[in-house]
């Protein structure tokens, strides 16, 4: 396992974790472009643009892009978050050059108007699909309420209206601004020929523009304590989301926050599991930690019958009050470490699993961390570290959004 990195003259950075024993090669372009880089006039453009990248280039049709990926036997896709858009492919090592050539070409798309109009329909269908699944409505609303005017409160998908009104010119302008070489990291994991990767990327991206992108990171004041009810009479279950602050991506306390989330809100064997799920009071209740450049989130997700939602919410709050008062015990700490380490090992066995960690770490911190670094960081956490997280980021003050049959909670 060997880490390599290089920055090209146009500003594009390449990072790789090379393992000659691996059976496959995973490649991904990580672009610093997400909903936080949008404003109301282009809400949802980052995600829409992600779809348009598969619609072809001056030398390839949309059919060509999909067909060529399939011909090389690639396992490929893309996704968009609040902060990043990622395009990736996992292939056999002998396809490294072909996969890179296609991915790099894709990232200079034609953005043809007729493709744009056709794909707009698909995006609106995707929004409609999520609207029929109640928890997703709550998720976006809760982030909007919690972050207020901070850019992390923006919706990734946008709305049917914002997508309908978006023009292809607006998308082209956004692309020019965000898809600068300096705003993109190429990550590679598994069986990687690094010299060949660098040489080829240099040629393939020489014409990419090199503007200095601007992203505002800013401190924010959350509207904690707000509680919103979204009535959806067609829903069967009641869904409740609680957001409170947590350690951001550059905060070493994030490992303690992961442990805290595992102790309190893992799918199985956590305090919320025993309090709510095991006795059958809730279908699901979990706590997760998410980290962004300038903010962190602790997100509680509860789904249960509407009639028991208020009581269950009180139980969640009581679990949080108890841990803030008394902390976690050594046995809980040890179990959480074991679970997290096991997950790190299992998810790292595949190059495509390592790819996202590698690219994510570089985007967030320009840092390379081995699997062992992460396991060691988790192993070093003490119950006092977890107590510190709770002092800095109390779970008992949160933004709450609920969606379901209830008119009020």
């Amino acid at each position: 396992m060997k880490f390599r990195s290089q920055q090209l003259a146009n500003g594009l950075e390449i990072v790789a974790e090379c393992d000659d024993q691996a059976h496959s090669t995973a490649l991904g372009f990580f672009v610093k472009a997400g909903s936080r880089d949008e404003d109301d006039t282009v809400a949802g453009v980052s995600h829409f643009l992600e779809h348009m990248m598969f619609k072809g280039t001056p030398t390839r049709s949309a059919d060509d892009v999909n067909r060529e990926f399939d011909e090389m036997g690639a396992h490929y896709n893309a996704y968009t978050t609040e902060e990043n858009t990622v395009y990736y492919a996992a292939v056999l090592p002998e396809q490294q050059a072909a996969a890179l050539e296609l991915l790099a070409d894709m990232l200079r798309p034609s953005l043809r108007a007729d493709d744009f109009d056709m794909e707009k329909k698909v995006i609106i269908e995707e929004i409609g699909m999520y609207e029929d699944q109640p928890p997703y409505c709550a998720d976006e609303q809760c982030k909007a309420d919690h972050f207020g005017s901070h850019p992390l409160g923006r919706s990734v998908l946008g709305t049917e209206q914002s997508i309908t009104e978006l023009t292809v010119e607006q998308m082209r302008n956004y692309f020019e601004r965000q898809y600068s070489a300096r705003n993109i990291v190429l990550a590679a994991a598994g069986h990687v020929d690094f010299e060949a990767l660098v040489a080829q990327t240099e040629r393939a991206t020489a014409h990419w523009n090199d503007v200095t992108p601007q992203r505002q990171t800013e401190s924010y004041r959350t509207t904690r304590g707000a509680c919103r009810t979204m009535n959806k009479s067609s829903s069967t279950q009641q869904y409740v989301l609680l957001l409170s602050d947590g350690p951001a991506a550059d905060d070493d306390a994030r490992y303690a926050a992961k442990i805290l989330a595992t102790v309190l809100g893992d799918d199985q064997g956590s305090r919320l599991y025993w309090e709510l799920v095991d006795p059958g009071l809730a279908e699901h209740c979990s706590l997760s930690h998410y980290d962004y450049l300038d903010a962190g989130l602790m997100m509680t997700y509860l789904s249960c019958p509407p009639e028991s939602a208020a009581d269950n919410l009180r139980r969640v709050q009581a679990v949080y009050a108890a841990v803030e008062a008394s902390g976690i015990d050594d046995a809980e700490l040890a179990r959480a470490k074991s679970k997290i380490s096991s997950r790190v090992v299992l998810s790292s066995e595949r190059p495509r699993g390592r790819l996202f960690t590698l690219g994510g770490n570089w985007l967030q911190r320009r840092e390379y961390r081995t699997v062992r670094d992460d396991i060691d960081a988790v192993a070093a956490i003490t119950a006092d570290d977890v107590a510190d997280v709770l002092r800095r980021f109390p779970l008992t003050t949160s933004t709450i959004v609920t969606v379901g049959p209830l008119e009020s909670l």
């Binding site: 949309a62 036997g73 699909m129 279950q237």
Partner: protein
Amino acid sequence: MQPENYTHTLDNGLVLVAEPNPSLESAAFTFLLPAGGAYDPADALGLNSFACEMALRGAGPRDSRQLVDDLDALGVERGEGVSVEHTNYGGAAVADNLLPALEIYADVLQRPHLPVEQIEAGRQVVIQELMATEDEPAHKVMVELKRSHFPSPWGNPSQGEMASAMSIDIAQIRAQVARCYRPNGTILGVAGKFDWDELRDHVSRLFAAWESVEVPRPAEGPTNQRVRHIMHEAHQTQIGIAYASVPYSHEDYFCAWGAVGVLSGGMSARLFTEVREKRGLCYSVQASHQTLKDRGAVLCYAGTSADRAQETLDVTLAELRRLAEGVRPEELDRLKARIKSGLIMQHESSSSRSSSIARDWFHLGRVRTLDELAAIIDRLSSDDINAYLERRAPRDFTVVTLGPEPLEMPL
């Protein structure tokens, strides 16, 4: 040289199949028990799902909490569920923790407490899972599609129904576990890093005293209504389409599988291209091959806005019918490339292999190695697939739709 896989059958019938991969740091296991939804009594659908929910609430020397805590301490990433044929319990962990984890599961399968004082809690879990499905229209339409396509018990919803979930009692659960949790018919698949002699001896010791029980295959009921609409207030209409195919053990299986791959393997496949890329009709459209022991089916799904659902149904059905005209060699070549790289990448994960080899044993009575699979895929030609499609063109469609308005069925 190390063999590609090992098998060992206990006197009571339990089969252990194992595929070593010493390059991994992990090991994974999959228990397939002959306790699928098809073995639920007609008046207690979901009984095996309920039993699965109860089985982890204490077993052997551990109560419910101790059992979960001990699995967590071993870092076992676990999952369990009930399919038509099986109840499965699976997990993955760092290699050193494989044998201790199997020891806990030996208690779960042979000595579950099934505590009466927890049955109401278990019932609430089962009921809530049923209610959650109501909020997942894409999932719900596929449950209903299977119910329409397969005769009972093969189409029964394994997760059960509200009425049975309300009425099942602890005596029924205990009787079902006594009948269905048995070594004959149980397959344990293990993959990853392990020592075979140690694993075989450990498993033999843990399960030697488990007594076999003879249970007949369930009798088949009548076929259900094959075309129907379910009213559902939503933006989108969900469309499920099914047609008959061959099972995994059939000599034509890979032809059937290849034909489905041309429909729906990769983004250049026909359904994605025709329904989504060319017409922008939906976000999600797909088809997959499902196999039971003695029959198979192709199940298709599409979800789209109610006002575009008719066109989506028409275009999707047209694509299914067009399959009878045959597949082109280049379509098959793409599929082969994708599958061959997928097979090689399976070497990188223990979890996917432990369940694959257990399923191989169920269907074939042996394990197909990844090399053998690659050779079969290599040999497959578009002529083979087209000859198969001539014999068995997609037809006699089962169609279930779920949404605000019924569609015209162009059948």
